[in-house]
């Protein structure tokens, strides 16, 4: 406030009114009001930004949950099937080797007959053909039954209650994804079949229950969404995490120890440091190109193998682990080193016997966070052939590391590329599993940090 404003007459429209006119402390002049309003607007903008950020998180998570949770339950149909010895064991000697000559086609009529009989018992199914009835059940049902019969040949001639997975369209109908209108346009299911499903549900033959096969089973082809599972993908991801842990942790810790404790200040050290910070920012897909060119084309490692994925993810994770390890080595006070050196330890002994154990919780935390990052990485894995359709479980490591497998995030991508909308639900379900793993890993990291990290 300059002196000149004091002399102005009252009511002259200038922003600052003379003093005598109003109680200064209880009423604000217009300019101050404007400034305060600007202040409030600014603060509100900030608060809005924070709220938008949190809202995005909520919308993202709830959309995934809403889409994905139904994937964990699946529709099953109870069918009492008469295992007809005349069809299944034409030679009549109950020898599984010879019964193998009956292919799944031989089993299908039995299932259809069983379902028809079950419907007839309840007086429901006179106007439906066997083909239509069989269309309600997953195409994998015959194979499931054949495996059972080959394993238990003595059951021939009995009527066994099978619990078959229902067709994906039936499942979609009970979950509200398929409607009578969409079924009328669909070659795979008809409105009549859906009316039959309603009757079956009323008769208690159809039930929805938790579907373990979704988590443990292998992937299935594009026209059997009801049977698709992510077992192979989980195993593949686990193998890759194993490779990353075994390689990235020792290499990362060794590199950090060198850079933090031993490296002299010279060109070589500088180059390494610049390199590490640049590698941390290289787009992940570039690492995929590296994996394809070096590990597959040049070194001749097999495509879609967890070992290649693990190596690529190791290179990607190394900068994260090195940066966090260096931070936790740095946080160990120099007095610890000085104490050890003063008692006659060599530099190496001081580091390995004293500094490293004290830094271990921080290192572990960084490693887990790096692993969590690697677990969700998709793009580089697509380039090294992990998008391939893999149905067979890989063997136990080490041989299994070289066999084709899938990975959780790539499996999600794969499912989004299929035409049947039932796979969108599966993809969201797989994401829920992926997110659960990530939450678990991060929780462990936070607990480790809270419990063991020392502050000096």
């Amino acid at each position: 406030m300059s002196d000149s404003t004091h002399d102005l007459p009252p009511g002259s429209g200038l922003p600052i009114a003379p003093r005598g006119d109003r109680p200064l402390l209880t009423e604000l002049d217009p300019r101050t009001k404007k400034r305060y309003a600007a202040e409030r607007r600014f603060k509100a903008l900030g608060l809005t930004a924070v709220c938008i950020g949190v809202l995005c998180l909520v919308v993202l998570v709830s959309s995934v949950l809403r889409q994905g949770l139904p994937a964990f339950t699946q529709t099953f149909i109870d069918v009492p099937v008469y295992l007809d010895p005349a069809t299944l064991d034409p030679d009549g000697n109950r020898d599984p080797e010879q019964m193998k000559s009956v292919l799944t086609f031989g089993y299908q009529p039995l299932i259809a007959a069983g379902l028809e009989r079950a419907l007839d018992d309840r007086g429901l199914g006179e106007q439906v053909t066997a083909d239509e009835v069989a269309g309600l059940i997953s195409r994998g049902a015959a194979a499931q039954m054949r495996d059972y019969v080959l394993a238990n040949p003595e059951k021939l001639g009995e009527t066994i209650d099978f619990n078959f997975v229902a067709n994906g369209r039936v499942d979609g109908y009970l979950k509200g994804r398929v409607t009578m209108e969409s079924a009328a346009l669909d070659s795979q299911i008809s409105p009549e079949q859906l009316q039959l499903v309603d009757k079956l549900r009323d008769a208690g033959l159809i039930e929805k229950k938790f579907n373990w096969a979704f988590i443990t089973g292998p992937d299935a082809s594009g026209n059997r969404p009801e049977a698709a599972g992510m077992g192979v993908a989980i195993i593949g991801s686990a193998y890759m995490m194993l490779v990353v842990l075994v390689l990235a942790l020792p290499i990362g810790v060794a590199a950090s120890i060198y850079l933090e404790e031993f490296a002299p200040q010279n060109r070589f050290t500088d180059i390494i440091e610049v390199n590490i910070s640049n590698l941390a920012a290289v787009p992940s897909i570039v690492f995929g190109i590296l994996g394809l060119a070096i590990f597959i084309n040049w070194a001749g490692l097999p495509q879609s193998a967890p070992i290649v994925g693990g190596l690529v993810l190791t290179l990607m994770t190394l900068p994260t682990i090195i940066i966090s390890t260096r931070a936790s080595l740095k946080s160990v006070p120099p007095s610890i080193r000085d104490g050890a050196l003063g008692l006659g330890a060599s530099k190496m002994q001081a580091v390995f016997h004293h500094v490293l154990p004290l830094a271990a919780p921080g290192i572990l935390t960084g490693t887990i966070i790096g692993l969590a990052q690697a677990l969700g990485e998709t793009a580089p894995l697509m380039l090294i052939g992990m998008v391939a359709f893999v149905r067979d479980f890989p063997d136990a490591p080490p041989a299994g590391l070289f066999e084709p497998a899938s990975a959780l995030p790539v499996q999600v991508y794969n499912w989004t590329q299929r035409s049947d909308p039932a796979f969108v639900e599966r993809a969201s379900g797989a994401i829920i599993v992926l997110l659960i793993f990530l939450v678990l890993m991060n929780t462990v990291a936070i607990i480790l940090r809270r419990r063991f990290e020392r502050r000096w």
Binding site: R35, A38, E39, F42, K43, G46, A49, V50, I52, G53, V54, C56, L57, L60, S63, V64, Q67, I251, A254, A255, Y258, F262, A263, I271, I272, N275, I276, S277, N278, L279, A281, V282, P283, S284, I285, V286, I289, L290, L292, A293, I294, A299, G300, L315, S346, M348, Q373, L375, G376, T378, A379, M382, V387, V412, T416, A427, S428, L434, L435, L438
Partner: protein, 486 residues
């Protein structure tokens, strides 16, 4: 002997070496630790390391070099007619590899005897069917010439692996014996062990350099192949992208760069204001309680894998934008669009911008704020006129880092932006980016001789150079700015 067994034998040797070296040192000191130069542990470790490390290094090098040498010496054996028939040399070589692998597999599964596999003739046995039995399918029937090459491949491999086993074992035993003989009470075992450990540490640190070299060299190498088949000026200045696997493709990068830039700009338009204001609010206004809740919540967004954002774009944001904006406004009816990918990517970048800006705003010295507030400025005036200008270089650095993230992001654009290479201004139109095209050119069946596949490496190199440039500029700015107040 397989590699696994060889490794095991070497490790067992190392364990024995540890025990024996330690014992020898003890015996030489008459059981009195005080007479030893180093602690007993180091004598054992010295023997173990001397027997293991040279042997493992030899094995590693051998495993890399042997296939190269064998391949080189096999090439002259293949008649030109066979190569012409198969189309390319590397196709013949992969056939040779498969047949040799199949025969080994058949022997190990017991469907062939060793001698039978060695003397097999194409005229007498249906090699293809026999190999299919053991799970090695071949694309065509086996030529006698190829079979012959495969047989000599097997023979050379066998000799090679026997030679490797012998050499590696000899080196391991030799190292063992040398270190064991040298062990006595005067021997400075700790010095040697520590020198070896330090060398290992340096090698681990060098892996970062190797990775960068690997990235640059592998892409440079393949990019050179690409430019040998496709003129560089058509790649950098071409305005159409129309790959055609029968040849005669248009592979201009401009439409891809346009899509990449468009998506990134939208992403930054979303992320920068929200992230910046969130950072300002959290660091300048929020109390400790709000801060301790809101900050981690926003940072969770950074920990969510990009595939989740991709799916979010595909099934939630895309249809939403199409049904409520694009179709009512008559701007198109594609769920995949630049706007979809850009907005979702913007959400992904919010925590990135906010936590970097938060750090930078916090680094502005408190005295600047106190000075401004003391002169009567309101908090927002202080932030706008004092804190923000002081933090500006750092914030620009943060935005550049976010931009480099956006340019290199893959899954969101693969699932959200679409695959049509188009140069258009309409944000509700599907366009495509560099990363999407890298993925589509390199997944599935790829032929590493055609420009349609090799172009992915040129795209990758371009992407690498752009993001590296942005990062370097950003880091320089951030670093310079930090020094200003330290």
């Amino acid at each position: 002997m397989s590699v696994t067994w060889l490794l095991l034998v070497i490790l067992v040797l190392a364990a024995i070496g540890y025990v024996m070296g330690r014992r020898r040192a003890f015996a030489d000191a008459d059981g009195d630790v005080r007479k030893l130069h180093s602690l007993p542990f180091y004598y054992g470790a010295n023997v173990a390391l001397t027997s293991v490390i040279p042997a493992l290094m030899l094995m590693f090098v051998w495993l890399i070099v042997q296939p190269m040498i064998i391949e080189r010496s096999l090439v002259p054996q293949i008649p030109d007619a066979t190569i012409e028939k198969a189309g390319a040399l590397n196709l013949v070589m992969s056939d040779v590899n498969r047949i040799a692998h199949g025969l080994d597999e058949a022997v190990s599964q017991g469907t062939m005897t060793r001698d039978f596999a060695r003397t097999l003739q194409t005229g007498e046995t249906d090699v293809r069917a026999r190999l299919a039995e053991v799970g090695v399918p071949l694309a065509s029937d086996v030529d006698p010439e190829v079979l012959e090459v495969a047989q000599s491949f097997r023979a050379m491999n066998r000799t090679g692996s026997i030679a490797m086993t012998l050499a590696v074992l000899a080196l391991a035993v030799g190292g063992f014996a040398y270190a064991y003989m040298k062990t006595n009470r005067e021997f400075r075992a700790r010095k040697y062990v520590e020198a070896v450990i330090k060398a290992l540490l340096i090698m681990a640190a060098g892996i970062a350099i190797l990775t960068t070299l690997g990235i640059v060299l592998s892409m440079l190498f393949e990019t050179r192949h690409f430019f040998a088949q496709y003129p560089w000026y058509r790649f950098f200045f071409g305005t159409t992208w129309a790959p055609n696997f029968r040849g005669d493709s248009d592979l201009g990068i401009i439409p891809l760069l346009w899509g990449t830039a468009y998506v990134s700009v939208i992403a930054l338009l979303v992320a920068v204001p929200i992230g910046l204001f969130a950072a300002i609010y959290l660091s300048e206004y929020a109390g400790p309680r709000v801060r301790s809740v809101a900050k981690p919540l926003i940072e969770i967004l950074a920990g969510i894998p990009t595939i989740v954002y991709g799916l979010f774009a595909l099934i939630t944001v895309g249809p939403l934008l199409r049904d409520y904006f694009a179709q009512p406004l008559g701007l198109g009816d594609s769920a995949n669009s630049v706007a979809t990918a850009g907005i979702v990517m913007g959400i992904m970048l919010i925590p990135f911008v906010s936590s970097l800006s938060d750090d930078i705003i916090n680094a502005v010295p408190q005295s600047l704020r106190d000075g401004s507030l003391g002169l009567g400025a309101t908090k927002s005036e202080t932030i706008r006129q004092v804190v923000f200008p002081a933090a500006l270089p750092g914030i620009i650095g943060a935005i550049l880092l976010a931009a480099s993230r956006a340019i290199g992001e893959t899954m969101i654009v693969v699932l959200g932006a679409g695959a049509a290479a188009r140069m258009d201004l309409n944000p509700f139109e599907a366009m495509t980016t560099v990363t999407v095209k890298i993925v589509s050119q390199l997944t599935g069946d790829t032929d590493f001789a055609s420009p349609e596949t090799l172009v992915a490496f040129a795209l990758g190199l371009t992407l690498f150079v752009i993001t590296l440039g942005l990062n370097v500029i950003a880091l320089v700015i951030v670093r310079k700015y930090r020094e200003q107040y330290e």
